[in-house]
C-alpha cells in the first residue's frame, strides 16, 4: 500500500507539473510574431501573438501595402507620386492616382474643417525647418524672411483638386504638400485592413508611435500608454482599447534646440513657427487611425479652448464621429472628452 501511494503521488505531481508546462519551460514570455521596417520617415513595427504561417504571410502583404503607400504619399521620397506632384503642379493640372487623390481630398477636407489648424500644404514650412532630418538639412532656426516666404507658399486655399479628371493644381509656385500628419494614420488603417482580411484577429501596429490595434489581447483590451510630455521615457496615463487607434502629437518627439530654445515639429500655418497654443500633448482615440492622426495634430495646434469647442461641434455633427481625446497643457493640466476615463499614472 505504501509503495502504491508513493508511486501514485510521484506520477500525479510530475504529471501535474508537466501538464501545466513547468517542466518544459513554457512559462516564458509567450511567443509572438513581430516585424519592423522603416517607412514614411519612421519605424513601423507590427506584432501579433499569432505565430502561424498564415499570420507571417499576412505580415508580408501588410508591409507590401506600406511600401505602396510610401511610394504614393511620401513627400521626401524622390521616387514617390507626391514628390512628382510637388515639383510639377504649379499652374499645371497633374493627373494623379485614385489613392493619392483620395488622400489629398481627405487632407483638404480636414484642412478646411479645422480652419487650417491641420494643413497639408505646409510642406515649404516643414522643409525649411528640416526638423527630424539629417544634420546637413538642419540649419537651426530659419530667419524671419525665410519663414514669411514659406508661409506665402502655404495655405490649403492654394491647392485645387479637380474630381472630373482627378487632377491637382497649385496656385503658388512654392506650394508643397506634406501628408506627414495623415499618411501614417492611413497606412495604419490599410495595414490593419490587410491583416484582418488575411485572418489576423489580434495584433498591435506601431507606426512611429501612432498605435493601431486589431481585436483584443487575450480577451482584454490593449493597454496603451500615453507618453508623459515632460518625461518622455515614461507614461502619464493608460488607455484600454479594442480595435481602435491611439495617436498622440507632442512637442517632445522631434525638435531642434537653437540658442537654448527648443523648437518642435508641429507647425502653425498662421505663423510658420512651431505651434504655441499652450498644449504640449494631444491624443485622439478613434476607430480610424487616419482620423486620429489628423485630429491629434489639429487639436495640438488649436489649443485647449478652441480644441474642446471644435470637438463638441464635431460630436454633434450629423456624422457623429466617435472620438475620445486627451489634451495636456504646459502646466500639466489634463482635458478629457466627456465620459472618457483613462487610468492615470502618478
Amino acid at each position: 500500500m505504501r509503495l502504491k501511494i508513493v508511486i501514485l503521488t510521484v506520477i500525479l505531481f510530475l504529471g501535474g507539473l508537466s501538464g501545466c508546462g513547468i517542466l518544459n519551460g513554457s512559462n516564458e514570455t509567450p511567443a509572438s510574431l513581430s516585424r519592423t521596417n522603416f517607412a514614411l520617415g519612421t519605424f513601423v513595427t507590427v506584432s501579433t501573438p499569432d505565430t502561424s504561417a498564415m499570420a507571417a504571410a499576412a505580415f508580408d502583404r501588410a508591409f507590401e501595402r506600406l511600401s505602396e503607400i510610401e511610394m504614393i504619399a511620401s513627400a521626401k521620397n524622390a521616387d514617390s507620386e507626391l514628390f512628382y506632384v510637388n515639383q510639377n503642379a504649379f499652374k499645371n493640372d497633374i493627373a494623379v492616382s485614385e489613392e493619392l487623390f483620395f488622400l489629398l481630398e481627405t487632407g483638404l477636407y480636414y484642412s478646411s474643417l479645422t480652419n487650417g489648424a491641420f494643413d497639408i500644404t505646409l510642406g515649404s514650412v516643414v522643409e525649411l525647418w528640416g526638423i527630424g532630418t539629417n544634420a546637413e538639412f538642419v540649419r537651426g532656426k530659419p530667419d524671419e524672411p525665410e519663414i514669411s516666404a514659406a508661409i506665402e507658399n502655404s495655405g490649403y486655399e492654394h491647392l485645387v483638386l479637380n474630381e472630373n479628371d482627378r487632377s491637382v493644381r497649385f496656385l503658388r509656385e512654392g506650394l508643397r504638400i506634406d501628408l506627414g500628419a495623415l499618411a501614417k494614420g492611413y497606412a495604419a488603417d490599410e495595414m490593419k485592413r490587410i491583416l484582418v482580411e488575411n485572418g489576423v484577429t489580434s495584433a498591435i501596429l506601431d507606426l512611429g508611435g501612432d498605435i493601431h490595434t486589431i481585436g483584443n489581447k487575450n480577451g482584454a483590451g490593449w493597454r496603451i500608454g500615453i507618453t508623459d510630455p515632460r518625461s518622455p521615457g515614461e507614461s502619464c496615463m493608460v488607455v484600454r482599447v479594442f480595435d481602435k487607434a491611439v495617436v498622440t502629437s507632442g512637442d517632445y518627439e522631434r525638435f531642434l534646440i537653437h540658442e537654448g530654445v527648443r523648437y518642435h515639429h508641429i507647425f502653425d500655418a498662421r505663423t510658420g513657427m512651431p505651434a504655441d497654443s499652450g498644449i504640449i500633448s494631444a491624443t485622439a482615440i478613434a476607430e480610424s487611425a487616419m482620423l486620429a492622426d489628423t485630429l491629434s495634430t489639429a487639436l495640438f495646434v488649436m489649443g485647449a479652448e478652441r480644441a474642446i469647442e471644435f470637438m463638441r461641434i464635431i460630436e454633434i455633427a450629423p456624422t457623429r464621429l466617435e472620438i475620445d481625446y486627451v489634451l495636456i497643457d504646459s502646466d500639466m493640466n489634463f482635458y478629457y472628452s466627456e465620459g472618457f476615463y483613462p487610468e492615470l499614472i502618478e
Binding site: 505531481f13 501545466c20 513547468i22 514570455t29 539629417n134 508611435g209 500608454g225 518622455p232 531642434l256
Partner: protein, 124 residues
Amino acid sequence: MKLLTKQNIVFFCIIAFVFAVSVVSWFMIRNIKIENPVAEIYKNGELTHRIELASDKSDSTIIDDNSNVIFVGHKVGVIHADCPDKICVNTGFIDSGVFPIICLPNRLEIRIVGVKSELDAVAR
C-alpha cells in the same frame, strides 16, 4: 469489498492534497517572470544586432555604426550621435519597457524584447 476503509480514505486524501499542491504551484510559478532582456538594434528598418543584456555590470559591448555609438551592458543606450537633436542620447539607458530609443535622422531604433511589460505599446 469495503471501499471506505481508513487506508483508502488516507490514500485519497493524499492524492487530493498532492493534486492541489501541483495546481497551486502552477499558478505561483506561472506568475514568476522569466525575463531574458535582449536589445534589438535596427538600422533603416533592418535588424543589425541582437544582444542579450549582461547580468554582470562589468560586461559590455560598444557598437559604432559611424553615426551612433551604442553601449550595451546590463542596459543599452546611445552614448554619442552625430544627429542634431540628440534625442537618442538624451533618452538615456533602457533595459525594459515599451519605450524604444530612436534616432530618426540616422534611422536607428533600439528596442528591448524578452521582458514582460505592463503596457502593450506607447503612443508618442
